[in-house]
Amino acid sequence: MITFENVTKIYKNNDKHSVCALDDVSFTIDKGEFVFLIGPSGAGKTTVTKLMLREENSTAGRIRVNGFDVSRLKKHRIPYLRRSVGTVFQDFRLLPNKTVYENVAFALEVVGAPIREIRRNVPNVLSMVGLTDKAKMKPHQLSGGEQQRVSLARAMVNKPPIILADEPTGDLDPATAMEIMKLLEAFNNRGTTVVVVTHAKDLVDTMQKRVLEIDGGKLVRDEQKGAYENESFGDEKDPVAGSSELVIPDLGVSDAFNELYSLDDEINALDSKLNSISKELYKFEKDTQTYQPPVD
């Protein structure tokens, strides 16, 4: 699903200062995984996300995302790569003059999605993130956590196979941050591959997911069910104890979420069936029209 093979990224500012942000980094993330990308500030985490989205191109090495050969991707194909990766940022990036609904719909409108799809997907995804009631509100009327849920809904509305979140909880309090994590986990349970860049130790320790740690542009740890700090360094703090203080809120959306998603799949299946039936019908009509009975 996502592979980095010996990827190096050097930023060339002016001729003198060039920064080696990533140095020979290799890893593979499979379909359906949930991965934390951690490391100190300036380690190169955001660079990884930028390379995945081809905001920047790698200096060396090979990157594959969703079957796209990212480093060699032609410019006009970049939008299609980005459509297959939902992105969430620390600062939400909502449009202040649009309602919640419009903000989410925007992501479909600008890729030319059919209106039918917009009318169906936007309410669905809003209900998945528990914001059906606030669809008509403007971002400034929402709390930080709610705004980030809108941003998550926008990232997920076209059902991308991957979601990429760069410090999505950086501006949120721990409880709200946990809400967002639980939502990401819910999407992950439905098969979406999730990559979260974070500083939040408690979250990482609680979630018990795979951890990729970068430091100084090098991949220094890749651990299944990892904690924020490497255990081999002798961590005096019990990660589970640390996280026990966290209130994990039940949004009450989890069941509804799964139900909606499966309903959605059913609708899609029916839709494509209908499509093929009407195609058949069309072909049949054409055949019967052009059919000439044999003349004796």
Binding site: L53, K75, H76, I78, P79, Y80, L81, R82, R83, S84, T87, R93, L95, F106, A107, E109, V110, V111, G112, P114, I115, R154, A155, N158
Partner: protein, 299 residues
């Protein structure tokens, strides 16, 4: 299916184009004004040029040489001269222009002036002559010389020089218009591209999000191009309206003053003028916005 999608996109681009204009009223107003002024100035020159061409074409068509004959020449000599002129290569038609005929014209012309009329009473000061029409106005001076060499021809008049001057002036005007349109178009393009640049700046959040959710470059760019086209076309329309209104007023005045200048009528030119000035405005808009996009909207 595909066409309905395109229609929806088109509606979206046009809507975005207009809302872009509305979101930056001052700048939009300024750039529409500049485009209007530029196109109006250019349109005035075009109208000047069209009329000059029209007048000089008419003048060329009516180009005429007049030959006058020595006093006292006998009727047979005069007829012989007429035949000789007819033989000259390039002469289309020769009409006698008698002294009596010239007298009548003069009397009509000075009908209000008793002093002059009195001078015509006792004697006819005019000479017998011919009016000569040409197949090709370029032959005027050659034919003039050939006629002047015929015996008993007193003098030959030729208005071709004046017309040549008129044609020359039309050429100069054309050149001025060309440079003027170039300079004014560049100014308009510059101001439009700045307007679009500001528009892109005020929409940088939207553009940023569009990039992340995978909108194509053209989808992001079109609204700005549409905005440029709207500025150009609105400017062109206002300018054309102003010019046609002003021109109509001038034509009716001049027709009232002097019947002798025949100007091109508004009805004959308005369709072409609107079409060409709209194309010019639209073109300026497209170039202005495209320049801005290429420079600042790196996707």
């Amino acid at each position: 299916m595909v066409t309905t999608m395109k229609m929806r996109n088109l509606k979206y681009f046009i809507g975005q184009g207009f809302s872009g204009l509305a979101s930056n009223r001052m700048m939009s107003f300024a750039s529409i004004s500049i485009v209007t002024a530029s196109i109006a100035i250019f349109g005035i020159f075009i109208l000047f040029g069209i009329n000059l061409n029209y007048i000089s074409e008419q003048a060329i068509d009516g180009i005429e040489i007049q030959a006058f004959i020595d006093r006292g020449a006998e009727q047979a000599v005069i007829q012989n001269i007429g035949r000789q002129i007819e033989q000259i290569d390039g002469v289309r038609e020769v009409i006698p222009y008698t002294a009596a005929e010239q007298l009548i014209i003069a009397q009509e012309m000075w009908a209000d002036d008793p002093v002059i009329l009195q001078r015509f009473e006792n004697s006819n000061p005019f000479r017998e002559g011919f009016r000569i029409f040409l197949a090709d106005p370029n032959d005027a001076s050659r034919i003039e010389t050939q006629i002047s060499r015929i015996d008993y021809v007193f003098n030959v008049n030729n208005d071709a020089d004046d017309i040549q001057a008129l044609v020359g002036f039309a050429g100069i005007l054309r050149m001025i218009s060309f440079w003027l349109v170039l300079i004014l178009a560049l100014v308009s393009i510059f101001i439009i591209s700045n307007t679009i640049k500001l528009g892109m700046f005020s929409r940088r959040r939207e553009i940023n999000i569009m990039k992340y959710v995978g909108a194509t470059n053209w989808f992001i760019r079109w609204p700005f191009i549409v905005e440029g086209i709207i500025i150009g076309c609105v400017g062109a329309l206002i300018a054309t309206g102003l010019i046609l209104w002003g021109y109509g007023a001038i034509v009716s005045r001049i027709d009232g003053w002097l019947g002798m200048i025949d100007m091109v009528s508004v009805g004959d030119i308005y369709k072409n003028l609107i079409l060409w000035l709209l194309l010019l405005g639209g073109g300026i808009g497209i170039i202005g916005s495209t320049l801005s996009i290429r420079k600042h909207l790196i996707v």
